[in-house]
Amino acid sequence: MKKINCILSFLILAAGLLSFTGCNLDIAPSNSLTGDQMSESPTGLEDIINGCYTIFKDYQEDQESNDWYLRQYYQMSDFSSDDVTYGHETEDNLNMIFRYPERTPALDNITTFWINSYKLIYAANVALNVADRAEEKTDLVKHIEGEALFLKAFAMHNLVRLYAKPYTQADVDTDPGIIIRESMTDTDNKGRASLKDTYDYIVNCLLEAETDMEDIDVSERDSKGFASIGAVRALLSRVYLYMGEWDKSIEYSTKVIDSGDYTLETTDDIPDYITDTKDASETIWCIIMNQTDDKQEGSIASMIMTEGDGCWGEEGYSPSILSDMGIGTDMEKVDVRFRFVQDPVIKNGLTLYPCSKFSGQDGSKTSSSPVMFRLSEMYFNRAEAYAHEGDEPDALDDINTVRAQRIDPSAIEGSTVEDFLYKTSDVNSSTTILDLVLKEKRIEFAFEAQRFFDLRRNGMDIIRNYWGFHILTYSVGQAVSKAPGLDVDQVVTKASYSRLVFPIPSQEVNNNPSCVQNEGY
């Protein structure tokens, strides 16, 4: 009997010991593919390119809950401009977007945008790598390759215009641009390319994308949520404008305008435009955020829309832009773009006009599919290039083309659209044609990440001659009956002020010693 139990015991243990080397401990995750599995997936290329777009709209793992690409994109550009009143001090780091002197390289929001941009560039490089290895270059592969090149260029241009000096205001050969990542294996530490090399790289990506996507028709990718040849050309129009290449910018703006693929929204449509951007004829490319992508209290709208239902309502149209729009005049009745200006609320002694440009999709106050490019911008890019070339009539024509679709004269009896368009006489000794173009663009693109760059590109000072928490000493008890004088700290910021260029995040500089920090940090 004892022998039996002895043998039994040994058997059990021996079985265990034998399995010590045999037990399978290679366990793959259930909701992710590993790199090896990915390369075997027949739909890998499409999955990866679609994944690139998700980076614009998703919270990324391990990041502060309210930071995501597009929210930071609008926050960093618009809140840096003179379009927005900062009406309620908050713990969110958007505080330091308004308060230039308090910007530091450690800020979460500035870091998150940088991280997500390079994550996008990496993902696009993975897509390019997979496309490169495709056995057959079908139209689908070519289209996706074009999309990947475009997304990479778009992410890079957004980086370079936020984290480097404006091209037209810098020594492009020596001033640093951003770090260029040529392929998915190009991940070692390296320094920033010059501004010129950065822009040249972006342009080359786009030209290659244009070649890829020319004359092909791929029904699977036929959506305004995916980049198209129109989007590639629209970005070329924008990038050339930023480079001061007026002719090229005009050429590409014209290509988009004349393609016939897009038409301006009309006066009737514009107020509802935002509720369905992905089907609108004016949209060239938007980021589709469906019902499940509604970020609610972390949405773009949450910052700028009237309080309640997920919105904090802490920011609003500034007195500066409202005055350009003609608040208190007839314009309030006829310019349909006033429909985005919400009823004012008093907060901390400040009158805040919330903005509804990111609200209303699927009936949700916090849902929209933000538009990256729309036809209107092509007219403004071309008008600005014409203005720089001294072609005043063509510039006026272009801005009036857009303006005509934004004016509803029926609100004022007996008036016509023409009454409200710009005339040659509007250009005079105090207002240049460029001023006029930028003023109209400001009205058209309020809260759409344009104004800050318009001022920067043209070397203009930022004048925020209104009360708000961008003024460091503002407090509720302060008299707010009159606007702050130009001598008040933070009212006038010179175009040359170094902290208008965002700092390279310390996470990059600390871990990548060859990456230089921007001046003034």
């Binding site: 004892k2 015991s9 399995s19 401990l25 790199g35 992905k278 949700s364």
Partner: protein, 976 residues
């Protein structure tokens, strides 16, 4: 084998002949039975022998004047001069204290004498003074070197336990729990017979890769005698939220405070016209106590019933317990049922089978934590009710002062916001002990566990929080796991030598599934997924992890005086890639029981003196599965299309975090009055598992890597005093204190920062973990009322941006300890327990002005706070005009020192209640009675977990955590 030994011993004995030969019998004075194995030594020599099975001995003394020392565990030593006698019979008296209590060490049991490493044992009666359903709360302040942080009063929440400091940056730190000898498992606190805390590698080395956080070994009850014993316990009481040091302002206080906002920064005069325009005096007509409306007196009740007994062939223990707590915050609570059945069967004299089962179910209800935030923010000037006395929506009302238009009380209405977790679990243990030969046995311990839990959350459109609209979400998890440990155990005596050991194999595997679904658009009055009409989101995944190990241990003791234990464990885990999957964990420890040496015999001052030392390695791998793989996540979509996002880059080099531990210690008692236990340790953890920042431009911002080292070194002292032990009045007191020093090294020039908004912590060479890194604050300028800072040049400045950063202490606790005392007089007994913490630095001293964002309610200033009003004022709170919520400086740091009275219990025992065998104890018990601290605005027990949004040791700017409770309980304990 035995024969040879006897021959050998005879041979040795022969060699020593030609002296005086003495023989006799050793018996017990109590029952006159012979004592086998007693030691007989000639004093001052190494000559000695032990008694045989009949208590007989024979020894050769060098001369007729020799003194014989008889000793045996459990008996008083006896010294007898030979005086030429050849026959000496001895009757030994039993010792009063039982030195040979068996201590459960996990894989093996040892007597206290045999233990060679730092362990602490707590018996159940010392544990269950506090009324709680978790063991962690009960441990607080009771074991030297064990730190327990109870940072929430949410019913069912589990406090954080850390043993001997914190040794990791990102990997988990909690101890490994071992129930009835098997890793993992569940239990009800009332089922616990003993709890052993293994603190150094001498014993934790046996648990290898899972033991960096120490090991807590729990043994559930089993029958002690053949008499069938029933036990019934009931604890019933009530609870109050502890807001003692975090009161909010009332209507008038807030009104007067906001008046300061209208003090002009230039003239220092209050502009009362502007003030009255902004805030009319009519606000004083309302004085809402928001907390009062959301909190209540909670109740707690706990019932436990057990019966146990045994026969020659089997032994059983069965229990059922029920715990029910209604939290102090409305709509929160926790219920738990636990059923256990322990059965042991001695089938033959060589085969023993143990079959234990534990079934437990619980349900827990909580509220959104941001409701606490809104309750603190809500103004006493606003009424939650409309003119009809119904709760009103602030977003639809006018004249609301509160900055966020949220009426938090709406969520407390019936069914408006429900957040609960229901869970049920089962553990079944099956063990077989086979005695193969008298010295060799085989032991197989196995456990299968299954558990599932279901969470339900919904809120209706009527609820106001920052999240918009209605929402329903349910999720469910299902986990099964199994573990088997199969060991050969051997024990062999020859003469004074005892060798024992074990060798075996262990395998663990866990498989889990989870799924969740959510939606919106709930119809009125219905709260299930079925009725959600839009925005459906579903999720689901599964995981597997596994580990297998070889375990071995050898123990040697000589003469019950010298002990050596060595163990060796090999672990393989699925956490790492093939090449780094295997790790080895050796340990060695030894002790010298000086008290058993003949030269200590008869020393009445120092008794039981023991010296110990240990060295060994342990590890940590619980960072989650597949962190070494390159991963593309498929958990998202773009415009409803399948999408893959690169989320992780591969790191095939990822490997175990390993701690090398060294410990020396001693224990002894002084004059039978004072038991002393001292330990010194030095633990170095290498290859820290760090979730490290990368330069993001490479495409990934973080990666799990092994980097740097951390040192934890310190000492622990426990004192147990029997101040009065004879007579009717008895008084015992226990005191423990420990110190831990923590330093990072091996970082070179690398500096790692973590931050939560502007609050930063720094990890670098020579710093303690979690060192605060904030701006240097220099007080309020008496002339202007502005905040001052120190800049890079050491000068004072008002400009926060140019202020320098300083390393300013750490929330890691250096000094802590506990004190407990019990006094009994006849059947009356009074017990008290307290614990203290000293030397940690917390972030979040809440200066009222930094809080009072316009318009929110504010913390009441503390008695030390002075508000600046005019030039010359020495103040702690500056002019509100300069207040900012974006200031993170050393002025926000506060020493976290505290002393808490954990428990006071007064009890009376009826020895012969109705019947001579019955015992009834009635007691009144208060938990968390009072706290002495300088921390203002929060409970000084602050979250130290790295899994939280907040940094370890950070108090949220708004104290939005569930307050701890004060508990008053009536206890009944009946045994018959």
């Amino acid at each position: 084998m035995k024969k040879y030994l006897i021959i050998l011993m005879l041979f040795v004995t022969c060699n020593l002949s030609a002296q005086v030969s003495i023989k006799g019998t050793v018996t017990s004075a109590t029952d006159k039975e012979p004592i086998p194995g007693a030691s007989v030594v000639i004093k001052g020599t190494t000559i000695g022998t032990t008694t045989d099975i009949d208590g007989r001995y024979s020894i050769k003394a060098p001369d007729a004047q020799s003194i014989l020392v008889f000793s045996c565990i459990g008996y008083e030593d006896v010294l007898i001069p030979a005086d030429g006698k050849e026959l000496i019979n001895v009757a030994m008296n039993e010792k009063m204290e039982k030195l040979d209590d068996v201590v459960v060490m996990g894989y093996s049991n040892k007597t206290k004498n045999e233990i060679t490493s730092a362990v602490s044992v707590i018996s159940s009666d010392k544990l269950v003074d506090v009324t709680s359903q978790n063991i962690e709360s009960m441990l607080q302040g009771k074991v030297a070197g064990v730190s327990v942080v109870n940072s929430s009063g949410q019913p069912g929440s589990e406090p954080l336990v850390r043993i001997r400091g914190i040794s990791s940056m990102n990997a988990p730190q909690g101890p490994l729990y071992v129930v009835d000898g098997i890793i993992g498992g569940s239990y009800d606190p009332n089922d616990i017979e003993t709890l052993t805390v293994l603190k150094d590698a001498g014993s934790t080395g046996m648990y290898g890769a899972q033991a960096n956080g120490g090991v807590i070994v729990i043994t559930t009850k089993s029958a002690k005698s053949k008499k069938m014993t029933f036990n019934f316990k009931a604890n019933v009481g009530f609870t109050r939220p502890d807001f003692d040091r975090q009161k909010r302002m009332n209507s008038a206080e807030l009104y007067n405070y906001y008046r300061e906002y209208f003090r002009d920064p230039e003239t220092y005069m209050v502009d009362d016209v502007a003030f009255n325009n902004a805030i009319p005096k009519s606000v004083l007509n309302t004085d809402t106590d928001w907390r009062g409306l959301a909190f209540r007196t909670g109740t707690v009740q706990q019932y436990y019933f057990s019966l146990m007994g045994k026969s020659d062939r089997n032994s059983y223990y069965d229990s059922i317990s029920y715990f029910d707590e209604d939290g102090t915050m409305r709509n929160t609570g926790y219920k738990q049922v636990n059923v256990r059945s322990n059965n042991t069967f001695n089938l033959t004299d060589w085969l023993k089978i143990t079959s234990n089962i534990d079934i437990h179910g619980s349900t827990s209800s909580s509220m959104d934590s941001n409701l606490l935030y809104y309750l603190d923010e809500a103004l006493p000037w606003d009424s939650p009710y409309d003119e009809n006395g119904d709760l009103r929506k602030f977003s639809e009302s006018t004249g609301i002062w509160m900055r966020d238009k949220v009426n938090p009380l709406l969520a407390f209405e019936d069914n408006q916001l429900v957040n609960n977790v229901k869970s049920i679990g089962l553990d079944y243990d099956f063990s077989v002990d086979v005695k193969i030969t008298p010295w060799l046995s085989f032991n197989s311990q196995n456990r299968v566990s299954g558990s599932t839990d279901k969470t339900h959350y919904h809120r209706t459109t009527n609820v106001e929080t920052m999240e918009s609209g209605d929402f329903i979400q349910e999720s469910q998890t299902f986990v099964v796991s199994g573990i088997t440990t199969d060991m050969f155990k051997a024990k062999y005596n020859f003469g004074k030598h005892t060798v024992s050991g074990l060798f075996g194999y262990e395998a663990q595997r866990e498989y889990g599934e989870e799924m969740s679904a959510s939606g919106k658009g709930l119809p009125y009055g219905l709260y299930v997924l079925d009725v959600a009409s839009n925005t459906y989101v579903v999720g689901g995944s599964n995981y597997t992890n596994g580990m297998q190990s070889l375990i071995s241990q050898v123990n040697y003791d000589y003469g019950n005086k010298y002990f050596v234990t060595a163990s060796f464990r090999v672990d393989q885990s699925s956490t790492f890639d093939k090449a780094n999957r295997t790790a080895m964990f050796p340990s060695i420890s030894g002790s010298w029981v000086v008290g058993n040496e003949p030269f200590m015999a008869g020393n009445d001052l120092i008794k039981g003196l023991k010296l110990r030392a240990s060295w060994g390695k342990t590890g940590m791998k619980d960072i989650g599965a597949s962190k070494y793989l390159e991963k593309f996540a498929y958990s998202t979509q773009y415009d409803d299309n399948t999408s893959a996002v690169p989320t992780q880059m591969s790191n095939p080099n990822l490997k175990w975090e390993q701690t090398t531990q060294f410990n020396v210690g001693t224990s002894f008692s002084l004059a039978d009055r004072l038991d002393i236990d001292l330990n010194f340790y030095r633990n170095i953890t290498n290859n820290l598992l760090v979730y490290r920042d990368l330069p993001p431009s490479g495409g990934f911002d973080k990666q799990w890597q092994n980097f740097g080292s951390v040192l934890n070194t310190g000492f622990e002292t426990s004192l147990g005093a029997h101040i009065l032990k004879d007579g009717k009045l008895k008084w015992n007191a226990d005191f423990s204190i420990s110190y831990n020093y923590n330093r990072l090294f091996g970082f070179g020039d690398t500096v790692i920062y973590t931050s939560h908004y502007g609050v930063m912590q720094v990890y670098k060479e020579g710093c303690s973990l979690y060192t605060w890194y904030v701006k240097d604050y220099a007080g309020i300028d008496p002339e202007t009322g502005r905040r001052q800072f120190i800049d890079e040049n050491g000068d004072k400045t008002f400009d926060y941006a140019s202020a320098r950063y300083v390393e300013a202490g750490s929330p890691l606790i250096p000094w802590e300890g506990g004190i407990s005392t019990d006094i009994s007089y006849g059947n009356w007994k009074l017990c008290a327990t307290g614990n203290f913490v000293w030397g940690d630095v917390l972030y979040g001293r809440q200066r009222a002005s930094d809080l009072a964002i316009f318009v929110e309610n504010s913390l009441e200033p503390s008695s030390e706070d002075v508000i600046w009003k005019q030039p010359g004022d020495i103040a702690t709170i500056g002019l509100p005009a300069y207040a900012s919520s974006q200031i993170y400086d050393t002025g926000m740091l506060v020493r976290g020192d505290y002393f808490k009275v954990r428990n006071i219990t007064l009890s009376y025992t009826f020895d012969k209640f109705l019947h001579s065998d019955n015992k009834l104890t009635l007691a009144l018990s208060c938990d968390n009675l009072c706290t002495f601290t300088n921390v203002w605005g929060a409970d000084p027990e602050v979250n130290m977990s790295i899994d939280s949004d907040l940094l370890p040791g950070e108090i949220s700017t708004w104290e939005n955590r569930y307050p701890n409770n004060k508990q008053y309980v009536f206890q009944v304990n009946l045994t018959f």
